[in-house]
């Protein structure tokens, strides 16, 4: 539908061909159905988010007496203060520890593995086998193996620790990271590796001085994606931790909601606080991703 219109425009731009659409008035070419769906869905997506934001700045008493879709006349940070008083600073740092503790090693290991897979698959059967194992890991959902993971953590005597969340998170981040990174490293021209070798660089040196800088955009993408997965992860913390001091944010959210069920502004402030860091990361990381990718094309 729209594509007709759009692709025609794109075509025009590319070839600078004379236009030939004298048959229909312009408004009829607009994709009304798609436009309606697109804008309607945008409203559906944004209304709950808007509601979260404005309600989190309302006093609980005002919440019940004012129109829920009108911003507060006198915004208050009271809810945020209340949430922070309920140990959310600790939960925040728990989440930071778990996310960094899982994503940094996972990405480093995946990067080195991806490098080895691209450079060594032709000569080593062992490396091909390892790659196959990683690829198979893609097909295994976390839910399906959560019980053996739980048993393993108990046997390791790590139950109810942040490490209990970190270890399986690393394992489940590796397969996709290796896949994405190895696809990226594979695109590095062979001649560059060749000239590094001619200059007497070791594989280790090539890894850090050639592959790392050239893979940076993919590394950023993978880091952000996996960071999001771990930060928002719910099942692993739910099953592998118990005590309130070990809570990460998603778990703390549900506990907080269970406790202050009726204080809707406070609960929504807690939702805001846990989401804010990701939104910031998205705004920063998106640019970096895009510029990284275009830089890759430029070279």
């Amino acid at each position: 539908m729209t594509i007709v219109l759009d692709s025609r425009e794109a075509g025009k731009a590319a070839h600078a061909a004379p236009s030939s659409n004298g048959r229909r008035p312009r408004w009829m070419q607009y994709n009304w159905l798609g436009g309606l769906a697109g804008w309607l869905w945008l409203v559906i997506v944004l209304v709950p988010i808007y509601w979260i934001v404005i309600t989190s700045f309302k006093l609980q008493t005002d919440y019940f007496s004012t129109n829920p879709l009108v911003p507060p006349s006198s915004p208050t940070l009271e809810n945020y203060r209340f949430v922070l008083e309920n140990h959310f600073v600790r939960y925040f740092f728990n989440s930071v520890i778990v996310t960094l503790g899982a994503v940094v090693p996972a990405v480093v290991v995946s990067f080195m593995a991806a490098y080895a897979i691209v450079r060594g698959s032709a000569v080593s059967r062992f490396i091909r086998t390892v790659n196959a194992v990683f690829l198979m890991g893609l097909a295994i959902p976390l839910q399906a193996v959560i019980i053996p993971v739980y048993l393993l953590i108990i046997k390791l005597q790590m139950y109810d620790s942040l490490g209990a969340i970190i270890l399986p998170s690393i394992a489940f981040a590796i397969p996709l990271s290796v896949l994405v990174l190895s696809n990226f490293i594979r695109d590095i021209p062979k001649e560059l590796f060749e000239s590094m070798r001619m200059d007497g660089a070791t594989e280790w040196g090539t890894l850090w001085r050639l592959a790392l800088p050239l893979t940076r955009p993919a590394l950023v993408t993978v880091t952000i994606y996996q960071g999001l997965q771990v930060w928002n992860g719910f099942l692993l913390p739910l099953i592998l931790t118990q005590s309130p001091e070990r809570r990460v944010l998603p778990l703390a959210l549900t506990a907080f909601q269970g406790q202050y069920n009726i204080n809707i502004p406070a609960v929504l402030a807690s939702v805001m606080l846990t989401t804010l860091p990701i939104l910031v990361l998205y705004v920063v990381g998106r640019r970096q991703m895009l510029s990284g990718l275009t830089a890759g094309f430029g070279k």
């Binding site: 769906a37 697109g38 399906a144 193996v145 019980i147 998603p250 549900t254 809707i264």
Partner: protein, 283 residues
């Protein structure tokens, strides 16, 4: 040679991580002890004769089918729309990413508050339609889950379709135009057939993904009211970690895995191409 090698690797390594769960399905482990006592086929017998299993399978299927039906037509429609190169459509795509950044727990909590019959949006606006006991009635609760899933994922799938649409060669439309094809005709004769592999990718992600919905359902309804939203993953969690029946819970995990593999193969057969290949296309 390398193909048979890959198959061998799959047989050995695709299965190995799952052996643990298979082994545990023959145990009567409670989850509280260090040692795991084995009890033969007891778990399987109790799971397979329990009327809870067909119910959980039915709920899982219902959620899968309804969420596919709700998401696919809308995602294609929106995907085609935002594939346009106008600047505001790019802005639309950026905003569409927001639901993907939120955790399922945060989304579930927000909707729980939003739909609360006494304190939610409906109650404070005084809109009777919104003021139902959304999570207290079985059919409504399923509807809420479908809606919330769509809320989070339609934008994502729209972006997949956006990518698919942009790869369709412009020349095809130009040729169709010369032949005098109208817009609707072009959509059904060019856009839709050309999106075939994108549809397979998106559907695989939806269908297989719906098997593992847990966070959202657990926080929204905890499988309730009664067991109206007790899908397989929730059933597994409740049996294993709430009732201490790790054996039967492992049996359900095995069923979950088999179902996922079967569905992925089915979608692939329906589409007539290697599913893994089309999935990579999505990434």
């Amino acid at each position: 040679m390398s193909v048979s090698y890959t198959h061998l690797a799959f047989t050995i390594f695709g299965i190995v991580p799952l052996i643990g769960v298979l082994v545990l399905s023959f145990s009567s482990w409670t989850g509280l002890t260090q040692n795991v006592p084995f009890s033969g086929l007891d778990s399987w017998k109790s799971v397979l004769t329990d009327p809870g299993l067909p119910h959980a399978l039915w709920i899982t299927f219902l959620i899968m089918a309804l969420s596919w039906l709700a998401q696919t037509p809308l995602s294609i429609l929106i995907g085609v729309f935002i594939a346009g190169h106008q600047r505001y459509r790019a802005v639309l795509a950026v905003l569409f990413f927001i639901p993907l950044l939120l955790s399922q727990a945060a989304i579930a909590i927000t909707y729980k508050m939003l739909l609360d019959p006494n304190f939610g949006l409906g109650a404070s606006l005084g809109w009777g339609f919104l003021q139902q006991d959304w999570l207290g009635e079985g059919k409504l609760a399923i509807g809420v889950i479908i809606f919330v899933v769509s809320w989070q994922w339609i934008p994502f799938h729209s972006l997949i379709y956006q990518g698919g649409v942009r790869q369709i060669p412009t020349a095809m439309y130009e040729a169709a135009e010369i032949d005098g094809a109208g817009r609707v005709r072009k959509f059904f004769s060019i856009t839709l057939p050309q999106l075939k592999y994108t549809i397979i990718t998106s559907s695989t992600l939806m269908v297989v993904g719906s098997l593992t919905f847990f966070d959202l359902i657990w926080v929204l309804t905890a499988g309730g009211p009664a067991d109206a939203t007790r899908a397989l993953a929730v059933d597994m969690y409740v049996r294993g970690f709430r009732s201490g029946l790790m054996g039967p819970a492992s049996a359900i995990a095995v069923i979950l895995v088999l179902l996922g593999l079967g569905l992925a193969l089915l979608v692939r057969r329906l589409g007539g191409r290697d599913a893994a290949e089309s999935q990579l296309e999505g990434i």
